[in-house]
Amino acid sequence: MEIKKVRQDIVVMAFIMIVSALFYTYFIPSQIRLSSAWSGNTSFSSRTFPYVLAAGMFIVSSIGFLKALISYIKLKKTAETVKTNAQEKTGQKILEKAMPFIIYALIIVYIILFNKIGFILSTLILTPLMMFLLRCRNWRYYLYVYAFEAVVYVIFIAVFKIPLP
């Protein structure tokens, strides 16, 4: 488990290193055009702070990368050679692992529908679907959620006068 975490850290730190290097070399110059009125007049331009941050992130992530790498080598040396039986991967387990991503995909669909068909319809369809996916089989819970959503709708439409899609 520990070794898996360390491996994860190596990948993440390497990713941050690459992204910060990309920002430093490409995105900052291309996305921030210096104002002609300011450039040259001061030691501090609109690019300075982002440059400092990108460089800082690169340095810090490099330290993190090296630290994780050293830990990985140490753990590899001390790791037991006896292999444990791989955990049986049943369909249920895979679904359980994927659940956060399924729910996230559902949230994205909800937001798209929220824009296309409006708040009421999208909420009526998507929230029970989410509860069903999460194995909610108590019909009363669905009613409670609908009641809450009705309250939110009334507050935003009638009280705050915010025109929801």
Binding site: K5, F49, M99, I103
Partner: protein, 500 residues
């Protein structure tokens, strides 16, 4: 002036908002896994169309309520609702097992109110004084203070200082998106005009704190792991107020700890509660009772953690620097209302700032009333299944982020930060430095720029001025603190082993 302050505080809408915020805060705080930041972030959308005072009262109510609410689940199910209620568990749960849950809850309520009220007085007394001192602070010192605000929070990340630092820098980076206020130059907009004003703090908060919670909780819910099976029976309170108040020394001491620790950026309720608990045990006549169900053991941490609530507002209102992530959300709400915290607040808008302080005092009184009258209802909240909450949070986050500027783009940004928040949790990156970096970004950059302009581009200006040099040195030490602590622990362990 006093009459004006009282008049502005006691309008029906303000009183209603204080109580709604409190009730929502207590409910959210009582639910294990949902913390104070979550409570404030979720209520944030409701403040957009409110008057600035009413909006702040709603959020301050949630802040105080959730801090107290964490004790309910700590006492009844041995799971702290919020991190600051960890120490309450040590004696709260044993008391509940002895059938004295009502007594423990009452002690927590009285302690929380006491700490909260004392903290308000500290805010009223110290804030104007610090504001006067702050008038003398110039750009290099301000920059150093911003760095301190950020590093203090990162230093709390314990074993994840590097990850905390990266999150803080990411927050600062996000603050650079949009139009640069000094030069009027577009930055990182990638051709999207919706990013002209930069990322909205409220949108980022809703995603990173609230929506990410939905995503990570979905797995537990699917596994059916969210039932609170071991809820201790709620026994009616039989303890008298005088039996609680006989520990007045502990309450005052814990309040002072809360005020002092809370005023330092990057600390917060969890540290204070633990500190107060240890000190109460150390100085108690019956230390053996601690851990086995001592009323004093519940009082000390609860008084301490609520005493933080007013104190954390001292650096926020006087310097515009948030002490922790909760206050960073409050700062975001203030900015959206067009209010810039800092010295100017005391000179130009003093009625508003004193109304906030008075309101906080009133909120603590209402907390005592609500806790006394509705405690049974709040206890039942723990039984609410998480499956009901998840879709409600999704709807609230979506509607809330849309309501900020009536554009769908904000809803997508919120969803993106939901994923970032979830990934951060999975990869052990602390989220708290992100909002602090985001809200401090502009202030940090402006003061860095001004300082370098004064010095003609020489960064030594920060080290040649004594105050900024000291603050920066403290910031550096606070970053190294987890490593220093680790070294001390190692040395201690080696010494102990050598003795054996």
């Amino acid at each position: 002036m006093l009459q004006e302050i009282v008049q502005s505080m006691l309008t029906p809408i303000n009183l209603i908002m204080m109580n709604i915020g409190l009730a929502a805060g207590i409910i959210i705080g009582a639910l294990p896994g949902l913390n104070v930041i979550f409570a404030i972030a979720v209520l944030l959308p409701f403040t957009f169309d409110l008057d600035s005072l009413a909006g702040m009262y709603l959020l301050l109510g949630a802040y105080c309520g959730a801090t107290y609410g964490g004790s309910i689940s700590a006492i009844l199910i041995n799971t702290p609702g919020t991190p600051s209620a960890c120490a309450t568990m040590f004696d709260g749960y044993p008391l509940a097992q002895k059938g004295r849950a009502g007594d423990a809850l009452r002690a927590a309520l009285v302690g929380s109110t006491f700490g909260g009220i004392l903290s308000c007085f500290a805010l009223m007394f110290f804030a104007p004084m610090i504001a006067k001192i702050a008038l003398k602070i110039t750009s290099p010192e301000y920059f150093a203070l911003c760095v301190f605000g950020l590093t203090a929070v990162i230093g709390l990340s314990e074993k994840n200082v590097i990850k905390g630092l990266l999150m803080g820098m990411f927050g600062l980076f996000l603050s650079t998106v949009g139009i640069d206020s000094q030069e009027g130059v577009q930055r990182f907009m990638f051709g999207n005009m919706q990013l002209l004003g930069g990322f909205k703090v409220a949108v980022v908060m809703l995603g990173a704190f609230a929506l990410s919670e939905v995503i990570s909780k979905s797995r537990e819910v699917y596994r059916g792991e969210t039932g609170n099976a071991n809820i201790a029976k709620f026994g009616k309170s039989t303890i008298k107020l005088k039996d609680i108040l006989k520990y007045w020394k502990t309450m005052i001491k814990s309040s002072l700890f809360g005020i002092i620790i809370g005023a330092i950026p990057g600390t917060g309720g969890a540290i204070t509660a633990m500190f107060s608990y240890n000190e109460a045990r150390r100085s108690s006549k019956n230390p053996e009772k601690f851990g086995n169900g001592s009323i004093e053991g519940v009082l000390a941490p609860e008084t301490g953690n609520n005493a933080v609530t007013g104190a954390t507002l001292i650096p926020l209102l006087t310097l515009g620097i948030p002490g922790d992530a909760c206050v960073a959300v409050l700062l975001g709400a203030l900015t959206m209302q067009g209010i810039t915290p800092g010295i100017s607040l005391f000179s130009s808008n003093s009625i508003w700032v004193y109304a906030i302080m008075g309101g906080l005092l009133l909120i603590n009184v209402f907390m005592l009333l609500q806790g006394h009258l509705f405690i049974r209802g709040f206890v039942n909240i723990i039984k609410v299944p998480v499956i009901i909450m998840l879709p409600c949070i999704v709807v609230l986050c979506s509607v809330g982020s849309f309501a900020i500027s009536n554009v769908m783009f904000d809803v997508f940004v919120m969803a993106a930060f939901g994923l970032i928040g979830y990934a951060a949790k999975k990869l052990d990156f602390p989220i708290a430095p992100l909002p602090i970096g985001l809200v401090l970004g502009n202030l940090t950059e402006t003061n860095l720029r001004r300082s370098l302009m004064i010095s003609g581009g020489n960064p030594l200006i920060f080290f040649t001025r004594p105050i900024s040099a000291v603050i920066l040195a403290v910031s550096f030490i606070s970053l190294l603190m987890p490593y220093i602590r680790k070294m001390i622990d190692k040395k201690k362990a080696a010494k102990a082993q050598a003795q054996v």
